[in-house]
């Protein structure tokens, strides 16, 4: 203690460690330190408070519906979403689930292989300036707002699909699926690329030293080592597609329908809330039913995120 004391500018009696030391240090700086510790703790815990708050408040608004009109059989198995019917309103979300699932499914069919391919290209093949430029482009593409994507679906894709496939309407599963795929792909690419880059270079070097070709290194070494991260990227992409609102609202055609082909118009869960919440009276069964859809969406995305997190954390443990 004595030897390490700098020669100048220390208070005369530097107290010994222990209780007395702590007590003697209780000056303004000490109290300020504790205050800041409390403040940043509040900041840290706010994320938990908000996520719990989201669940509590949407449940609170939807509860009346769950208690009165909600019938699990009708809600999940009926395709009749007629909340405004004067005679007998029905609240079946099956067609809406089908709408969301078909659009997200088509989007992922396109986006998953292509974004994994793009991630492999950026991480393993591209070098130097090309790599940097591609990463920037991917990041910028991920930033395009969803309402702009919806507008693109409406004003560019719509006439294009009508023209190309000779169909009467272009606001369909196909349109929204392509839009959603293009939207989710940059995010999946950039997360997948991170996962590939996280594989240590010594793995690649070891494989190359054994005479493996570029593709053998990627296929036999890099991909297996990064598989959890890649799966996490895919799941986050699915979550993003599933929860997307404005783009599917504008590009699906918004008609309640269980699709039989990609040229059918559908309506998504998220879009239904966005389109109808403004017209409902606060506290009405219709209003509460929309919040119940919100609870459903919240729980599904929570599950997807939790799974992705567990998978991604799995790799950290292994390494």
């Amino acid at each position: 203690m004595q030897t390490s004391t700098p020669p100048t500018a220390l208070p005369q009696a530097a107290p010994e460690r222990g209780a007395a030391y702590d007590f003697a240090r209780r000056d303004v700086a000490w109290y300020l330190d504790k205050l800041v510790q409390l403040l940043v703790f509040i900041g840290g815990i706010s994320a938990i408070v908000f996520i719990v708050g989201i669940f509590v408040f949407i449940t609170k608004e939807g509860l009346g519906f769950l208690a009165a009109e909600f019938k699990a059989g009708e809600f999940f198995l009926s395709a009749n979403w007629r909340p405004t019917s004067e005679v007998r309103p029905t609240y079946g979300i099956l067609a809406l689930i089908a709408g969301t699932a078909s659009v997200t499914g088509l989007a992922m069919l396109v986006a998953i292989p292509f974004s994994l391919g793009a991630a492999i290209y950026i991480a393993e093949f591209a070098t130097g300036k090309v790599r940097e430029a591609l990463k920037i482009v991917v990041e910028l593409l991920a930033a395009i707002p969803s309402v702009v994507w919806g507008f693109i679906g409406l004003s560019i894709m719509n006439p294009l699909i009508i023209e190309l496939f000779n169909v009467p309407i272009g606001l369909t599963v196909l349109n929204a699926g392509i839009i959603l795929g293009l939207m989710a792909a940059p995010i999946m690419t950039s997360i997948a690329e991170d996962a590939l880059k996280a594989v240590p270079d010594r793995y690649r070097e070891a494989a190359e030293a054994m005479g493996a070709t570029r593709w053998q290194v990627i296929y036999k070494v890099v991909l297996p080592a990064a598989k959890n991260g890649l799966l996490g990227a895919v799941l986050l992409g699915v979550g993003r597609g599933f929860g997307e609102t404005m783009a599917v609202l504008m590009a699906t055609g918004h008609s309640i329908n269980i699709p039989t082909s990609v040229f059918d118009s559908v309506r998504a869960l998220t879009a239904t809330i966005a389109a109808e919440l403004g017209e409902t009276a606060v506290g009405s069964p219709h209003y509460r039913a929309l919040f119940t859809i919100g609870i459903f969406l919240f729980l599904i995305t929570f599950l997807i995120n939790l799974t992705a997190d567990l998978i991604v954390r799995g790799i950290r443990k292994e390494n």
């Binding site: 330190d33 900041g43 989201i54 309402v147 070709t213 995120n305």
Partner: protein, 289 residues
């Protein structure tokens, strides 16, 4: 001495083949979007002028400019930043400088991931239930901005935490050894070294906040208002919602108007993002350790 045999040649050829294949896949993702953006610029560029940016919409929004929407977006973004930046930076400081590696920290991280992953329309429902109804703010800039702030909080937290963690631990240890408290160390050593990184996160958040539509639809943004907002308890128009309105809700809309709105919105978002990326690259070049 070492001549390429048949196997070597085949391996080389297959390597090139895969490079071309994956390069092609990358191009398939990137090129269509760039073509689409070029179309937006071509179509929208025709209507954009100072007059378009700084006058009110007229004739049921089919003519005139977008000034109230532009101003409204500025309002929404600024109020949202006032909430999310202090909160997000505090959360990041806690996670980077104080938090132990335990279940509680994992719970916070999971909450952050979920805040980013919950659908935007669910955030909107939360905004309606909490801010509009429960706290009684009504449909106002305040309610909309709070909803946006909570939704974009993860952007600030993640960027700030990364830049705090990039400051070497030795810097902190040197400071602690001089007898400084944790907060003195953070304020004098960690934050000054991380401030540019935090700024990149804040700029990113501006871009995210400006582009969001669903969370503000029912919490504070209006389709059309004949007046400009005077305070945080007024409703406002917003650029993102304006694009939705002019492209879907207004009959007899001339084709170019929505293109113009889309171009302005996307220009704001991409400019902010480019600024953030440029700042990050500048920072990386300057780094001394």
């Amino acid at each position: 001495m070492f001549a390429a045999d048949e196997l070597n040649r085949r391996n080389h050829a297959s390597g090139r083949l895969f490079k071309i294949l994956f390069g092609f896949m990358t191009a398939t993702l990137v090129l269509p979007v760039i073509i689409i953006l070029a179309m937006l610029i071509y179509q929208g560029g025709a209507v954009i002028s100072l007059e378009f940016l700084f006058t009110n919409p007229t004739k049921a929004m089919t003519a005139g400019g977008i000034f109230p929407a532009l101003l409204g977006t500025v309002w929404l973004v600024l109020v949202a930043l006032l909430v999310s930046v202090p909160l997000g930076v505090a959360a990041a400081i806690y996670l980077s400088e104080y938090a132990a590696d335990n279940w509680f920290t994992r719970a916070i991280n999971l909450a952050i991931i979920n805040l980013a992953g919950v659908p935007s329309i669910v955030h909107a429902l939360f905004g309606v239930g909490a801010f509009v109804i429960f706290f009684g703010f009504g449909t106002s800039i305040l309610a909309a901005s709070l909803t946006l702030a909570i939704m974009t909080l993860p952007v600030v937290i993640v960027a700030t935490r990364e830049s705090l963690q990039a400051v070497p631990i030795a810097f902190r240890e040197a400071c602690w050894n001089m007898g400084a408290t944790r907060w003195q160390t953070i304020r004098r050593i960690v934050l000054p070294n991380a401030i540019t990184g935090i700024l990149t996160g804040v700029i990113l958040e501006v871009s995210r906040t400006a582009g969001e539509t669903a969370p503000i639809m029912f919490t504070g943004a209006a389709f059309f208002l004949p007046f400009l907002p005077q305070g945080v308890f007024d409703q406002t128009m917003a650029l993102s919602l304006h694009l939705f309105v002019v492209s879907t809700q207004v009959p007899n809309m001339p084709d170019q108007v929505p293109y113009g709105v889309a171009l302005v919105l996307i220009a704001i978002v991409l400019l902010m993002n480019s600024l953030s990326i440029a700042l990050r690259m500048y920072l990386r070049g300057k780094k001394k350790w």
